[in-house]
Amino acid sequence: MGIDIRNLTVTYGAEKVISDLSLTIPQGCFFTLLGPSGCGKTTLLRTIAGFVQASGGSLNFDATDVTRLPPHKRNIGMVFQDYALFPDKTVAQNVAYGLRARYEKGPAADRKVAEALDRVGLGHLGKRHPAALSGGQRQRVALARALVIKPAVLLMDEPLSNLDAKLRIQIRETISELQREANITTVFVTHDQEEALSMSDLIGVMNKGAVEQLGTPQDIYGRPRTSYVADFVGSANRLDVTLEHTDGSLLRANLGPATILATGTLAQAAQRGVLILRPEDLKISAAPRSDMQSLPAEVRRRQYLGSKTSYRLSLGNNVEVIAELHGPGHDGFAAGDRVSLGIDPAIARVISA
């Protein structure tokens, strides 16, 4: 079922938490709401669930207007941050809970419960109580409980934030698989960009109650439209620039100590903008390279990180960038070295300030 949000506004008292938000999530899509805490992503999820009432706008599941429908009639599956497993009920009873609410009992329901538990690899733990499970197992039970009722949409509120790093990657795969298998429209809330990039079909980056950019993971990471998105998703050098002139698809921007060829959306000369450079896209060499534009730089600080080395480079006039080198010899430069910074115009993006 697709989700259609039109001009949605949510207020807490006098404060507008979400203002005039419109969004369409197609059927079967794994949609992620990405943003820092306090950006309104959980509020938006809870509005879709029905726990928060919209003060304006509309919310449709396909053609059905659910804006005023109470949550228990929306046929949603929800996975909570702290799992919210009922402590007095066994794993199987937890999973069967939603079926019983739909008057599904007897062998058919038991079979569904067993199937759902098998699907998450917990078929043997049905008789246990949640307290006797590990964090990852609880997470799987929560997932089985939400999915067994074949909900119209699956809603997940930072479901991985209480797990350790290794488990997080495992469960990430489980979730992705189950979602694809069931082909169920999913809204996933997270502040973790890696989660968002690895799992989603579509990402909405949220800021101050609005979706700042909507796009595929590749769009969001590779073509951030605002400096906020660029900074929040991955890390980015953000340098203030002034447009000198455009040159076909390329433009020349002045960043103080030097000018640089870049791609971008600025059109008028003298327009101010922000140059976005991903650290891992930058090259460092001892001498200027012939295959791309080079800027003279000096290594200020070196941070060895094992699989890569991060360098802070000064371009002069207090303009500094971070560059990361991977591959053999990535730690080959030292503080104080005078080097050449290579920038491919295709990875240097200028956006309006």
Partner: protein
């Protein structure tokens, strides 16, 4: 707002608020207004011109102050040694909270009389050696018995405060060059002081409100609660001026204490800082023996009633004369066979009261904690009012409010059950609210998201999780209801005696052996559910 009015929770809150207004606020307002109404001179005029009433006020305040000081002097050192030291027999001290819970005040008073009264065991024993104790009736008996009953409240409060006091603060003081004992006084005392003061004030209000011990031991000494009771008995429920005036005086005293308590607590905000408690240090040699002996003495004296009452229950007697050493089971057979009325009544009234009180407090706590609306703060405030009313005051209020008119309850069993519910409901409320605060909202949301409507969710998800707390609140409500005397003795009518009322009447007639038998059964009725709950169902009754 329109949305909250449409929800079922709003209407439940409104219903709860109306019930509380009718059964808590209305009686209270009746008491406070009736003192100005009625025929003849106003109650306040009579209060200030009659020597007996003025004396009652002065005596009550004096008694409460003295008992509070003694309780603090016993309770605080006992708490300190228990929290900070390990010594022989320390486990016995853990029994203290249980003792106060299972021994009703009326029985404590009775057993003190049996030991130290005019015909008491100890009195007679000492008389043989020519030692004559002062009469136990009056100041001596009141102060002694109340101090040994109420010190446990100071002990319980203080021991908790010392246990959670961060020992690092003391270590910091020592690292800065203060001697250990001095740093303790400088650093720990200010932090635990608000707790000590709060529990001392609790003792003060309990002495002011106490009816059972006061009326049994005061004899000719005027005291406020006894005077209120006597005025109520003398006036009946048609002209209630004097009883209302005296009850109002109690209410005003308790209100003053509560304001003082608020002020103390608000000054003690820093107390919240929790930390690593100090591990108990072993105490050996002379000081260890001394501490063990004095702590043991306190516990033994608190336990004495239990022993005395059992002995008394099996001792032959002729009228008021006890034949110590000659055993019989006649007293007990009277309780179960000849006159089982009080036992049956107690079980019935306390059972019904516990059931209603627990359901009501679970629902109301849920509304207050999980479904707040404009009404719920009022529900919360009003349901806490009974904590500040003594049983005698409540009894007067019920008589004044439900005697005739559209809701006439006087002379029914209902009014006794009602008195139980109103007095004990706040315990259940506090218990349930604490548990509900610990149940995350996501439980309910998970259930609702799976398609279960909100009200059904409460029964299917919230209630099962609350169950252990509800069960322990039920036990607590049961034990305190069964032991209730001061309100029920005002509202009961012939044939509706409960166990404590029967014990009280028998003590009044000097029939100690019969009183002991009913007392033993009363303690059993209190103790058995506690034992079953803790041993069989593993419920934490005392938390």
């Amino acid at each position: 707002m329109s949305r909250s009015i449409r929800s079922p929770w709003f209407w439940l809150s409104a219903a709860a608020l109306s019930l509380l207004a009718l059964f808590v606020l209305y009686p209270l307002v009746n008491i406070l207004t009736a003192s100005f109404l009625g025929d003849g001179p106003s109650g306040w005029e009579r209060f200030f011109t009659t020597a007996k009433y003025r004396d009652a006020l002065v005596n009550t305040l004096l008694l409460a102050s003295v008992v509070t000081v003694i309780c603090t002097l016993i309770g605080v050192p006992l708490a300190y040694v228990t929290a900070r030291y390990a010594f022989r027999g320390k486990a016995l001290i853990a029994l203290l909270p249980l003792i106060t819970l299972v021994i009703p005040e009326v029985i404590a008073a009775q057993t003190w009389l049996m030991m130290l009264g005019n015909n008491g065991l100890i009195t007679k024993f000492l008389r043989e050696f020519g030692i004559r104790l002062p009469s136990f009736y009056g100041w001596f008996g009141l102060i002694t018995s109340m101090s040994f009953i109420y010190y446990t409240y100071v002990y319980i409060g203080t021991v908790a405060a010392i246990r959670k006091f961060d020992v690092q603060l003391e270590e910091a003081a020592q690292s800065l060059g203060t001697a250990p004992s001095k740093s303790r006084i400088q650093v720990m005392v200010p932090v635990i002081m608000p707790t000590i003061l709060a529990s001392a004030l609790l003792v003060f209000t309990m002495v002011v409100g106490n009816f059972a011990i006061s009326s049994i031991l005061a004899q000719r000494l005027p005291l406020l609660s006894v005077a209120t009771y006597q005025a109520a008995v003398a006036e009946g429920s048609t002209n209630i001026t004097m009883q209302s005036t005296l009850a109002s005086v109690s209410v005003l005293i308790v209100m003053a204490v509560l304001f003082l308590n608020r002020w103390v607590v608000s000054r003690g905000r820093f107390e919240i800082v929790q930390g690593r408690g100090a591990p108990p240090q072993p105490l050996v040699g002379m000081s260890g023996a001394l501490v063990a002996i004095s702590a043991g003495l306190a516990v033994v004296i608190s336990l004495l009633p239990l022993v005395t009452i059992v002995l008394g229950a099996f001792t032959q007697s002729v009228g008021p004369v006890m034949h110590w050493g000659q055993w019989t089971t006649d007293n007990l057979s009277r309780v179960f066979i000849t006159a089982p009325g009080p036992l049956v009544n107690s079980l019935l009234y306390a059972g019904i009261a516990t059931l209603i009180s627990i359901c009501f407090s679970a629902l109301v706590s849920y509304l207050v904690v999980k479904k707040p609306n404009i009404l719920t703060p009022w529900v919360d405030y009003i349901s806490a009012i009974p904590l500040a009313l003594s049983g005698t005051v409540l009894g007067v209020g019920l008589l004044a409010s439900f005697n005739g008119g559209w809701l006439s309850l006087t002379g029914t069993s209902t009014i006794i059950v009602l008195a139980y519910i109103i007095r004990r409901m706040p315990f259940g409320m506090r218990n349930s609210q604490a548990t509900l605060h610990n149940i995350p909202n996501s439980f309910e949301e998970a259930s609702i998201s799976l398609g279960v409507p909100p009200v059904a969710t409460f029964f299917k998800v919230v209630l099962p999780v609350m169950m252990p707390a509800v069960a322990s609140a039920a036990i607590l409500t049961w034990t305190t209801s069964v032991a209730e005397l001061s309100a029920s003795i005002l509202v009961y009518s012939g044939g509706r005696e409960t166990l404590p009322i029967q014990v009280y009447r028998l003590i009044d007639s000097g029939l100690m052996a019969y009183a002991s038998a009913y007392g033993v059964v009363l303690i059993a009725v209190i103790l058995i559910p506690i034992i079953i709950a803790t041993k069989v169902f593993r419920i934490e009754v005392l938390s």
